[in-house]
Amino acid sequence: MVEREAAELFEEFKELTASEFFRRNKQMLGFSGKIRSLTMVFHELITNSLDACEEAGIQPDITIDLKRLDKDHYILKHTDNGPGIPEAYITKVYCTMFAGSKFRNIQSRGQQGLGCSGCVLLSQMTTGKPAKVVSGYYEGGKDKGLKGVELTFKMDVKKNQGLILDRKEAEVTQTGVSIELHFKDVSYSLSEQGAFEYIRRTMIANPHAKIKFRDPTGQIFIFDRATDVIPPLPKEVLPHPRGVTADDLIFMAKHTDKRRFRSLLTSSLSRMSTKRVNEIEEETGIDLNKRPRDMKWEEAEQIVELFARMDFMAPPTSGLIPIGKEQIDKGIREILNPEFAATTSRKPKTYRGGVAFVIEAGISYGGDSGRLVGEQKKAEIMRFANRVPLTFDQGSCAITEALKSIDWKRYGIRDLDNAPITVFVNIVSTNVPYLSTGKQSVAPEPEILHEVRQATMKIARNLQKYIRAKRAAKEEAMRSKIFENLVPVIIREAAVLAETDVPEYDSVLAKVTRRAKFENIPLESEEGEDES
């Protein structure tokens, strides 16, 4: 055995770029399994387009074309009508990991900033083919005219940046981005976890968008927008003291331009008054007038521990933009074409004492609600976080857990699993508590479970009323029919029995059928009759 000295060993020590890291760990981006990988690509591109359009105040109009070249080999062309990307930023958006505008305390669809570059990475890893992007955009005012550029590029994973292979001026008629990517080792599926279902669900939660999708068989699906209302942009809100960690405080302290820790606290956290700061100083004995950079880890920990014991007002909810009761209703009606739908949007609540969230729920019955399994309609649960469908890890999700804990029999649904029902639940928050990095299931915080239950039970009561009324109407029609069939028969046979002519009986028939309409509970006047 030859001993090797440290210097020699450390010659092999390399720094991994983010891109290189994710190249080796692509499952951390959600790219595990053929079906799931493709769904994640759709997810990243669609949410990106929706976010871009909303930020620019444009009604989203997305066209997706998925062609199959070979088994498991696809070309995806994704086009939106957003503001476009200036040429200089194109490779940053698509080739640099952790770039973007999503590192603020703001309600947004994506939260990692990995999305688009992840798709390019997956394409490159599975096919070796470059990505092609056409961007139409305005730069320096509309009067300078619409610019159009087409870039063909690869990702240099070692450097975490783009490598342009080709550049062309492009003829464009409107703003927006069109990206073309090749994929292998992915699979298009109509299952609940597949790409198609992802689009369908996205459309319910985003009724202001329009998506045109051509599937690998060439069939074109147009999901039209159900409303013209573009959701307002969420505002950034300061974090609530209950929602921060010691690490967050140290991070803030390092990146602030404030000169005293005291003013850092009041300016960086919500609900933090001078009175509260004084209380903190008194309780902890820490000098809050010192420079933020001098804050020690132990002190930060002490302050965070104190936050947990202090009484704060609930966090501001102005940063939360729910879809809204009416908009969910429109989305459900457009996509599920139900017999009946009810929706609700709850008031903001907080979990862990400091993170605001809103639960919205919808229930849809009949029509295209539920999933068709063989001949039987099964209930389906559609989970969303900030309008984004959660398609995996259903079992461990707080939304599923809350819905399963409801006693559906009380709402006239004897067997939820086998009812033509779709239950829609959206959680809106600046900080959705995901259970894992895949961000596909919500942690079962007691407050979230409670809100999901309350929201769903409220609309389930409306559904119950509807089902009852429907049953009653059906029963009544059946009853009227019984009378209309049997009364003439009885009178005819009675006349034969009595050996007389059939008398006029219209008014008696009218009497009994009218009576049937008013009696909702069938008469059980068979006193003591048990036919034994």
């Binding site: 009885i490 009675a494 008014s507 008696v508 008469l523 068979e526 009759e529 036919e531």
Partner: protein, 357 residues
Amino acid sequence: MSHNNKIANRKDIAINKLKSLGERIIEEINQNNVPALKVPSRGTSNIIYDEDKRYYVLGDRYGQRSLGNVKQIPKIAQMVYVANFCKDLVRRGKTATLREMYYVSEGWDVDFGDQQESNIVGEDLEVTLGMTREDLGLMPEEDGASVYGNLIMKEDDVEINALRLGKSGYTISPTIDDVEFLDHDVDKVIAVETMGMFHRLVQEEAYKKFNCLIVGLKGQAARATRRFLRRVNQDLNLPVYICNDGDPWGFHIAMVIISGSAKLAHVNHDLATPDAKFLGVTASDIINYDLPTDPLKDIDVLRLKELSKDPRYRDEQWQMEIKKMLKIGKKAEQQSFSKYGLEYVVDTYLPEKLDAM
């Protein structure tokens, strides 16, 4: 009134009653009312043991069949159809079984879910009109008992002598009410549970020895058998004696003949023979004659306990016999007398028991 007149009279009554059912409905319609029929309830709570009559009767509770009630209207429709079917049967002098009626009903504008349902409507009609289904032309499926002895009957134009029909005797027809009793020279009737015992009595010429009619019940007595026994008892004034197996089931076969069944409470006035007497085999017989026995099974014990609480067994003698059988824990078949020779039952047992009555 001659028998033929009686039959004609029964027919007229049946037709009139059926007709009146239709008239009741038409009358209500003419008065612009919603017709409703009262049907006496046959639920267990409305079946009452009548101490004076010594059989089960229906109480005065009744159910409603209203044209204005969605659950009841199909029953009225079924009832009216059945009534028309019966009226046609009676008028044409025909009979049909319930099964046949069920098949005929396939062509009607109202369904029967199954035969059970059509049977119930038949019973509804019986209780509503207060007539037996035989009067309405609806016959049971099965034949009645066998009768051997010097009884001369007339059915239509045929004269029947129950002594001249071979060793198996005369089989009681479901249409027994159409049969006229012409003549006889017997002074009692002995009914036995099994055909084995029936043939024993025929071979030993018991009909001569006891000057009786021998009736082989073939287990639980059919409606026609019970009607026949009631008629020979009431019309011909003949005492009826019953000799069955010595177990709870034998007891009850006798009791249904004597006091009627709960299920047929609405027609027991035509079926029960309250004066019929149970000869044996009793628990006392088992002891006194030292008969070969089988131990009582659990189900026998259970049944005996049920019987002891039944109002029909309230009589002291019955209570004593039930207790005794439970105490000895044994039962015996009627044929067990052959332990003492085949002739013993006729030579010794029956004379001794008849004497004691």
